[in-house]
C-alpha cells in the first residue's frame, strides 16, 4: 500500500500558495498506519536482554534483606540487580547549574532517589530490584520471586488529612505563589453578590498509550538509548551526569513517542535502570514498564483542594476575586503547580488575592500533566464564575464579557493577543447558545435532561531557544534537521510546511529529521513550546540559506539575480525570482559548482533571554478560548453523557489546520475524562495506588466522545515566531468546568469535587 502526501494539497500549493495554514496530511501517516513506525521498545539488537522491575510494597522504610536466590535460579535469568550488588549511578545533580541543559537535568529528574544505590524506600512502588533475562516472560516471572524484607517507618500518605496543614508555597520556576491587589477579603465581605466555593480534584495519571520504554546499548564507553522521552537533549545531559560520560558519547533516539502529555518530560526510573542494567550486565537491555509499573514509577498530576470566592455588584462587575489552592509534592521530588496562575489574567477586578500552598507526602513525586496547574485551576475558577452568573441571574457569557479586562488585571501589562469576547461571540452563534433556556432542568430531549455550559480556556505561552540546520541539494531536495519530538503533535509536518513556504519549494521535497540527540537541539515537547520555538530556528535557517544561495548566484556574471538584494526577490517555484527572471536553487548550485548548500542556526542565548525579558516586561501572552459543552443527564440514574462540544480558540497562526484541530480535540477529550471519570485512587493507609490499570482508571472511550467542533480565530500573535501560539495544552483548560456548568444547568446541582460521578448527583 502506498499512502502519499495528499495530491490535492500538492497541486494547490505549487506556485505562490502557502502550505502554512492548510490542512496537510501528517508526513508520518504512512509509517503509523502500516506498523512501520518503530517506538523505543521495538529496536532489535543482537544479544538483547529484557528487564523487569521489582517494586517496593511499603511506603517508607529500609530494606533489611533482599533474597534473590530463587529469582537467579530461573533458567534464562542473566542477573538480578539490587542495591547490594550494583555499581551505583552518580547522585541526582544539585548545586549551581552551569547551562540551560543543566538546569533541566536537575529540574527534570523525576525524583531525587538514586535507584539501586540505597536501602531506603520512599514510596510504595519504588523500584528496589531489576531482573535482567533472556526473554521478557522470564524477567517478569523471576521478578515475582525476589523476596524483600523491610523495616517500616511511619509515613504521611493521606492528602485529605494533611491538606489543612499545608504550608505556603515559595515562588519558583512554575510561577509566583501569591498575588495581592487591593483588599480582596474586605471587598468580598462588602459585595452585593458573592459566591464562595470549595473544590477538590483528584490525582490523575497521563496514561499515554505507550508505556515508558527504553532500549539501552553500551558499546565500550559509548551509549545509545532509545527512549520514549519528550526531551532528548535534556535526557542526554542527565545521562551524562548520572553515568559520568561526556555528552558526545551518548546518543538518545526517540523518533516516535507513543504519547506523553508531560509524563515523558522528566527522567524517571525506567530509563535510568535500563541504562544501569545494560552497564552492569554488559548486554543490551530493553526495559518496557508494565502499565502498573508506569503508575508506580512515573508521577502524575497532583490532587488539589481549592477555594474560589467572587464578589460582584448587581451589574455583574467583579469587586473581589480570591483563589487559593493546596497541592501535593513528594518527599523526594515534584514541583508546585501554578493552580491559581490563570486567575491573574482572566477578569478585570480591583481586588484580587491568590494563594498557593503545598503539602509533602511520602508518595511518588507529582509531575507535569497537560496544562499543569491551569487545567485543575480553571475547573474551580470557571465553575465559580458560572455559579456567580446563576446567583446574579445573568447569562454566563454576558458576565464574562462585562469583566473582560482591557489590560492584564494584575500589573497592567498589555495582552499581546486577546480575543476572548470574540471567541464567545463566534462560539455562541455556532453553538446555538440563544436557544438555551437558563432555568435549571428546563431543557429536555425526550426523557434526558439537557444542559449547556461554557467556560474560558487559558494557557500562558512561552518560547524556548532552538537550533536548526537546513540543507538543499543539487536536485532541490531540502532536509531540515532539528531535534524535535514526534509525540503525536505533527511536529515534523508543521516544520516541513514552514520550510516549504520559506524556501518556496513543494512540500514533497522537504524532509525533516527529528528525534535524535545528534541533531541540532530543539526544546523539549512540553509547555506548548515546541512548534513556535522550532519555527523561529527553521525560519532563520531558511533565511540564512536563501542569503547563501543568493550570494552564490551573484558571483555568476550570467545570473539574472546579479546585483539583487534578497528583500526584493520572490521566493517561489524552488528558486529566487525578480519579476519573471530568476533561478532555481538547483540552477544556482549547478552554476556555482556546488553539490549542496547549508545554513546552520544556533540559538543566541543572550539574545533569546534579552528578547524574552523584553517581551515579558511588556506583554502577557497566552492561548485562550471559549469552551461550549452540551450534556444529557438521565433524570433517574444521573448518568452524564456529553452530547455536543464546540471549542473556539485563539492560538495565533495555525500551521496545519488538521493536526492543530486534532491536538485541540485531544485536550478536550482529556478534559472530558477529567470531568467525568478520571481519578487515581490512593490508599491512605499504605500509599498504594488502587487502580493502576486502564481497566480501573477510566479514560474516555469512543462511546464517551461526541462530535467535537472546533474553530480557530487564526490571527497571528504579534510577538511570536510566525504568530504561532502553542496549541498543546489550552484546550484541556476550562473543559472540565464547561462540563460541570452544563451539568449544573441540566440538574441545578453544582458539583465541586471531580470527577462528576453519579453518586454526586443522586
Amino acid at each position: 500500500m502506498t499512502v502519499t502526501q495528499s495530491e490535492a494539497v500538492e497541486e494547490r500549493a505549487t506556485g505562490t500558495t502557502k502550505y502554512v495554514g492548510q490542512s496537510v496530511d501528517r508526513l508520518d501517516g504512512p509509517a503509523k498506519t502500516t506498523g512501520k513506525a518503530r517506538f523505543s521498545a521495538e529496536f532489535p539488537y543482537p544479544g538483547l536482554t529484557y528487564a523487569a522491575v521489582v517494586h517496593a510494597t511499603i511506603s517508607r522504610g529500609r530494606i533489611t534483606a533482599i533474597d534473590t536466590a530463587e529469582a537467579k535460579a530461573v533458567r534464562g535469568v542473566v542477573d538480578v540487580l539490587t542495591h547490594e550488588n550494583t555499581p551505583p549511578m552518580k547522585p541526582v545533580p544539585k548545586g549551581i547549574p552551569t547551562s540551560m541543559n543543566a538546569v533541566f537535568s536537575a529540574m527534570l529528574s523525576g525524583t531525587s532517589v538514586n535507584y539501586l544505590a540505597t536501602d531506603e524506600v520512599h514510596w510504595n512502588g519504588q523500584p528496589v530490584a531489576v531482573v535482567v533475562a533472556e526473554t521478557p516472560e522470564t524477567a517478569r516471572y523471576a521478578a515475582s520471586l525476589v523476596r524483600l524484607t523491610y523495616r517500616e517507618l511511619p509515613a504521611t500518605l493521606d492528602f485529605a488529612a494533611e491538606e489543612p496543614k499545608a504550608e505556603p508555597q515559595k515562588g519558583g520556576l512554575m510561577g509566583g505563589a501569591s498575588t495581592d491587589k487591593g483588599d480582596a477579603p474586605a471587598a468580598l465581605a462588602a459585595a452585593a453578590h458573592s459566591v464562595d466555593l470549595a473544590f477538590s480534584t483528584p490525582p490523575h495519571n497521563h496514561n499515554a498509550l505507550e508505556p515508558h520504554a527504553t532500549t539501552a546499548v553500551w558499546d565500550g564507553d559509548r551509549l545509545t538509548v532509545h527512549d520514549s522521552t519528550q526531551g532528548i537533549s535534556g535526557l542526554r545531559k542527565h545521562l551524562s551526569q548520572r553515568f559520568g560520560l561526556p555528552e558526545k558519547r551518548i546518543r538518545v533516539l526517540a523518533q516516535y513517542v507513543g504519547g506523553g502529555f508531560g509524563g515523558k518530560g522528566s527522567f524517571w526510573a525506567g530509563t535510568l535502570l535500563a541504562v544501569l542494567a545494560a552497564r552492569a550486565t554488559g548486554r543490551p537491555v530493553r526495559l518496557s514498564l508494565t502499565r502498573e509499573g508506569v503508575y508506580h514509577t512515573v508521577g502524575g498530576r497532583t490532587p488539589s483542594t481549592q477555594r474560589v470566592a467572587l464578589g460582584a455588584g448587581a451589574d455583574g462587575r467583579l469587586t473581589a476575586l480570591l483563589h487559593t489552592s493546596v497541592s501535593r509534592l513528594g518527599q523526594v521530588g515534584g514541583m508546585p503547580e501554578n493552580i491559581t496562575g490563570s486567575s491573574r489574567h482572566l477578569y478585570a477586578c480591583d481586588n484580587i488575592q491568590l494563594r498557593q500552598s503545598v503539602v509533602r507526602l511520602d508518595l511518588l513525586s507529582n509531575t507535569f500533566m497537560r496544562a499543569p496547574g491551569e487545567s485543575i485551576g480553571s475547573f474551580a475558577m470557571e465553575s465559580a464564575v458560572d455559579e456567580l452568573a446563576c446567583e446574579l441571574g445573568m447569562d454566563p457569557i454576558e458576565l464574562r464579557a462585562r469583566n473582560e479586562p482591557e489590560r492584564d488585571p494584575v500589573g497592567g501589562k498589555q495582552f499581546s493577543n486577546r480575543r476572548l469576547v470574540e471567541a464567545y461571540r463566534v462560539g455562541a452563534e455556532m453553538f446555538g447558545w440563544r436557544e438555551r433556556d437558563a432555568r435549571p432542568g428546563a431543557m429536555r430531549d425526550g426523557r434526558w435532561l439537557v444542559g449547556m455550559g461554557v467556560a474560558t480556556a487559558y494557557h500562558p505561552q512561552m518560547l524556548m531557544p532552538a537550533n536548526a540546520t537546513v540543507r538543499i541539494d543539487a536536485a532541490g531536495k531540502v532536509v531540515v534537521q532539528c531535534g524535535l519530538h514526534e509525540i503525536g503533535v505533527g511536529a515534523a509536518t508543521a516544520q516541513a510546511q514552514i520550510a516549504a513556504d520559506e524556501l518556496g519549494v513543494p512540500l514533497g521535497s522537504v524532509r525533516v529529521e527529528h528525534g535524535d540527540s545528534d541533531l541540532p537541539q530543539a526544546p523539549f515537547a512540553g509547555g506548548s513550546v515546541q512548534t513556535a520555538s522550532a519555527a523561529a530556528a527553521v525560519v532563520a535557517a531558511c533565511a540564512k540559506l536563501k542569503r547563501t544561495l543568493l550570494g552564490l548566484a551573484r558571483r555568476s556574471a550570467a545570473s539574472p539575480l546579479r546585483g539583487r538584494r534578497l528583500e526584493e526577490l520572490e521566493v517561489r517555484d524552488g528558486g529566487l525570482y525578480h519579476g519573471g527572471r530568476g533561478q532555481t536553487y538547483a540552477e544556482i548550485l549547478a552554476g556555482a559548482g556546488r553539490g549542496h548548500a547549508e545554513a546552520v542556526i544556533k540559538a543566541n542565548m543572550l539574545g533569546f533571554v534579552a528578547k524574552t525579558v523584553r517581551d515579558t516586561r511588556r506583554y502577557v501572552k497566552a492561548a485562550s478560548g471559549a469552551q461550549f459543552c452540551e450534556v444529557r443527564v438521565d433524570p433517574d440514574t444521573f448518568e452524564v453523557r456529553v452530547s455536543r462540544w464546540l471549542g473556539v480558540f485563539d492560538v495565533g497562526t495555525v500551521i496545519n489546520t488538521r493536526t492543530a484541530e486534532s491536538q485541540l480535540r485531544g485536550g478536550i477529550v482529556m478534559g472530558i475524562g477529567m470531568a467525568l471519570s478520571e481519578q487515581t485512587l490512593i490508599d491512605g493507609r499504605d500509599g498504594r495506588i488502587m487502580n493502576p490499570s486502564l481497566s480501573e482508571y477510566h479514560v474516555p472511550v469512543h462511546a464517551d466522545i461526541p462530535r467535537i467542533d472546533l474553530h480557530c480565530l487564526n490571527e497571528p500573535d504579534p510577538i511570536s515566531p510566525l504568530g504561532v501560539v502553542g496549541v498543546g495544552e489550552v484546550s484541556i483548560t476550562g473543559a472540565a468546568a464547561a462540563v460541570a456548568n452544563a451539568v449544573r444547568h441540566a440538574t441545578g446541582k453544582r458539583v465541586v469535587d471531580l470527577p462528576i460521578t453519579l453518586d454526586k448527583l443522586l
Binding site: 509509517a31 516516535y256 485531544g666 477529550v669 469512543h702 466522545i705
Partner: protein, 161 residues
C-alpha cells in the same frame, strides 16, 4: 517448548514457544512484528488488536500456542482503504493505538456485516453511534476518536458528517 505453526501475514511461520508466551509477545519479540502494540498487556486498551482467522482479538490475552494452525493478520499484513482514510481524517496522533484501531475496525465491519448485534438499539445500519459503541475497546489517549470514526464511516461508504 512447543512448536507451533501459524500463517502470519501470508507467510507460514514455525515457532518454538513456551506455553506461557502470549500471542502478542510471540509476534513482537519472536517475529519482530512490532505493529501490534502493548499498551496494557491485560486486554484493557486494544492496542494489540490483530485478526485471527478474520476475527479481531486482543493478542495480549491470547497464548501463542492457542493459535497453532491459525491465520494471523497484523497491521503489517493489512492492505485496506482504512489506512489511507486514517491519514486523510487524522485518525491518530502519536500512532501507538493506530495498528489496533485499524485491525479492530476491519474486524468490526465484518462483525457488523455478519449481523452480530450491539447494545445500540438499531444496529442494522452502521451509524456513528454504532461505530463508537463497537470500537470502544480500542482506547486512544491522544483523543483522535472523531477522526477514527470519520475514517471508518468514510470507508464503510457512509457520509462522515
Amino acid at each position: 517448548m512447543t512448536e507451533i505453526r501459524m500463517k502470519v501475514n501470508g507467510d507460514v511461520e514455525s515457532l518454538d514457544v513456551e506455553p506461557w508466551v502470549s500471542l502478542l509477545d510471540a509476534l513482537r519479540d519472536r517475529l519482530d512484528l512490532t505493529g501490534p502494540k502493548k499498551g496494557c498487556d491485560q486486554g484493557a486498551c486494544g492496542a494489540c488488536t490483530v485478526l485471527a482467522d478474520g476475527m479481531r482479538i486482543n493478542a495480549c490475552l491470547a497464548l501463542a500456542v492457542q493459535y497453532d494452525g491459525s491465520e494471523i493478520t497484523t497491521i503489517e499484513g493489512v492492505a485496506h482503504p482504512l489506512q489511507e482514510a486514517f491519514v486523510r481524517h487524522d485518525g491518530f496522533q502519536c500512532g501507538y493505538c493506530t495498528s489496533g484501531q485499524i485491525c479492530s475496525a476491519i474486524g468490526m465491519l465484518a462483525e457488523h456485516a455478519s449481523g452480530m448485534p450491539s447494545v445500540v438499539a438499531d444496529s442494522s445500519e452502521l451509524t456513528e453511534a454504532e461505530v463508537r459503541e463497537r470500537m470502544s475497546g480500542n482506547l486512544c489517549r491522544c483523543g483522535a476518536y472523531n477522526g477514527i470514526v470519520d475514517a471508518i464511516m468514510d470507508v464503510a461508504g457512509k457520509d462522515a458528517r
